[in-house]
């Protein structure tokens, strides 16, 4: 793990203690008194404050933990190298409980109580949707790391950007050629019955049918479901490929029960790693996955031809070659997603440097600077791979990885081109006023 001693993240606690001490007369009342939650100027050179909306509790907590670790590691690197425009980054982390209402409140807190420069870091789409309107109204740049299609679909606003991680539509569409050419033409899809799953259903089936494939059955699993076997009989017998994606705490049960259902006669299986994110591939009951394929946002296992950038990133965050924490081999990371935090922070840095960012008055300049970006080469700043940012849709595009489970490890089998992941623009945010 990264050395915590030097990390500049103690402000939260300090403020809290101050607030508590001052408000000893009554916890509830103290918050109502003006000024107490505010900040004293401790540093001579004002730090750049990045509000970090993190899923510490609620269903996103397993992801939030690794988003947090990646963010801390990245900030430490950037600060050690001189910060942004000579100013240190200070992360102000607030838990959003993976809840859209609390998410909006947290953004308000960043804007008007912590006086953050930008806010950043949200993963779950519903929290993004709940928070983005408030970010827009507060004129607070809001950099999400969510892989939802919300930003690129035009549903949000000019202050919301997703420059550090690709969106589900491009990921899913890029899988269609590989599946139809290598695995089979008749697919049954299994996905969660909410918006994220529906995106998989709609975009994949369209792209797959355009290539002459057929979707035999679409099995939508209700959220909060904990047992899955009863749904598997709906899989048609002539299925050649199972396409599965699942999220939430029950993912391991889902994959395990799928294996028990098929027994020795399974079709080809293609899954999104979301179905096993933060879960050890070597868990008991997952042996049947050997020989099946997974989409990975970023290969969890260090590959043979690992780039020097991945090596450095892995080491900085504290992830071993199997994608688990270096201090606890059982603590598997959310490797396919969390690189987005690292890359987004570097983009914020680059944007602020390009805009010569001085303070909240320059927020619109920062957004324009990011909108002006396009090519992002494979580098220490972008360890997952090269990216192509679309300033109009506020969405980044990049390589997608397909890995094959081999001897209990994910081995890279195919890398898509960026072109495979592109689709037509659905919005032009630059036409909106600030």
């Amino acid at each position: 793990m990264a050395d915590k001693k030097n990390s500049p993240v103690n402000v939260n606690r300090r403020t809290a203690l101050k607030t508590l001490a001052a408000g000893a007369g009554g916890v509830a009342a103290s918050g109502l008194l003006p000024g107490l939650g505010g900040y004293s100027q401790v540093h001579s050179a004002e730090p750049i404050k990045i509000g970090f909306q993190v899923h510490r509790t609620g269903i996103g907590a397993a992801y939030g933990r690794w988003y947090d670790r990646t963010t801390q590691a990245c900030v430490e690197k950037i600060n050690a190298a001189g910060g942004i425009n000579g100013r240190m980054i200070e992360i102000v982390a607030e838990d959003d409980g993976t809840d859209p209402k609390r998410g909006a409140e947290v953004v308000e807190k960043f804007a008007s109580q912590h006086n953050c420069d930008v806010s950043f870091g949200t993963l779950f789409s519903h929290v993004v949707y709940g928070s983005a309107p408030r970010a827009g109204e507060l004129k607070m740049p809001y950099f999400v790391v969510s892989e939802g299609h919300h930003v690129a679909s035009g549903a949000l606003n000019r202050y919301t950007l997703q420059p550090g991680i690709t969106d589900v539509k491009s990921q899913v569409e890029a899988m269609a050629p590989f599946i139809s050419e290598n695995l089979g033409k008749k697919v049954t899809m299994i996905f969660p019955d909410f918006a994220f799953g529906h995106d998989h259903r709609d975009y994949f089936s369209a792209a797959f049918e355009a290539r002459g494939g057929t979707i035999l059955e679409k099995i939508a699993i209700p959220p909060t479901e904990t047992s899955f076997t009863k749904y598997f009989p709906k899989i048609p017998r002539d299925t050649e490929v199972i396409y599965h994606v699942m999220v939430g705490p029950a993912v391991l049960t889902f994959v395990k029960e799928m294996g028990e259902f098929f027994g020795p006669s399974k079709p080809e299986i293609f899954g999104f790693i979301d179905s096993l994110e933060a879960v050890d591939i070597a868990s008991p009951g997952l042996e049947f996955l050997d020989g099946t394929y997974f989409w990975e946002g970023n290969p969890r296992y260090a590959q043979e031809e690992q780039s020097e950038f991945d090596t450095a990133y892995r080491e900085a965050v504290g992830v071993d070659e199997n994608g688990a924490s270096v201090s606890d081999a059982k603590d598997v990371s959310t490797y396919a997603h969390m690189f987005g935090c690292w890359e987004t922070l570097h983009i914020i840095k680059r944007g602020m440097e390009a805009a010569d960012y001085k303070g909240p008055a320059d927020r619109t300049k920062l957004i324009e600077a990011v909108e002006a970006m396009s090519d992002m080469p494979h580098s220490f700043e972008h360890p997952q791979g090269a990216k192509l940012f679309n300033g109009k849709t506020h969405q980044t595009f990049g390589h997608q990885y397909i890995s094959k489970v081999t001897d209990g490890k994910l081995v890279l089998a195919h890398t898509t081109s960026i072109e495979d992941t592109l689709y037509e623009d659905e919005v032009d945010y630059t036409a909106q006023s600030f």
Partner: protein, 314 residues
Amino acid sequence: MKDQLRTSLFHLLIIGLMAGLYFTLPEYHSGVLARAMVLAVYAMGYNLLFGYTGLLSLGHALFFATGMYGLGLAMQHLDVGASTGIVFGLIAALVISTVIGFLALRTTGVAFMIVTLMFAQAGYLIILWMGEYTRGDEGFAIQASERVLAGIDLSQPDNRYFAALVLFGISLLLIGWVVRSGFGKTLVAIRENEERARMLGYNVHRHKWVAVIISGVLSGAAGAAYALLFGYVGATFATVQYSIFPLLYVLLGGAGTTLGPLVGTVFMYYLIDLSSQVTSAYLLIAGVALILLTLFAPQGIIGELRKRVFPWLP
């Protein structure tokens, strides 16, 4: 009558005080208060049923969500303005609470809790199931440019605050009037002893039904206002958790008091907000606080005040 007048004057004073707070509080806290007032209306609707009529519902999120989606879906898919959206939200809440009230009131006590819970759960699942229109759990945003009511831009902090205050004020005066009226007193009589109320010749079922409808419409109004003022419509608001919130707000603030819902809402907000600065497990602190409150202030904050200091509190 004197009673009515005094209650109304007291409530007007509170409304004036809330208006004054906008000019004295820093931006963050006035924003918090705007949201708290909307949620307090939800809790006030809940309180009419729980605090005054003695019916514990575990499904009020359904009414809140009905108002929210009534407005949100109309604005999103029928292309109507905010004022028509509000009408849609209120009518939807009226229809749903009338139907649910009719069905659920065949039961009492714990069975009533479960029936309301089940209807709310079905409502939540229906929102997910109709994902094509609702975008399921993810929900959708209502653009700031559409959130304009009678020429007033509700995405601006001051407009938002006073819009929330208008809703809160109307609801407070309405509730104050209802609970001091003969109707409200009958509700309390039903709460205290349903058999006796029936023997005295009151139509208990109809009184309860009307209480469910008023309660449901107020909750729906809060849901519609939330969508309009904060620009987001989502299925989280239809989950069980959001049915339990108003119960907590009311119990903390004081069941059967007119101001309890607001006090409970604000208290709960700051409890979570402040403790989240100390620890990521802020709900731990919230949990301990809840236990302490039940041990030492069982009537809720306003309830204890009324019991110990100000017996005249409505």
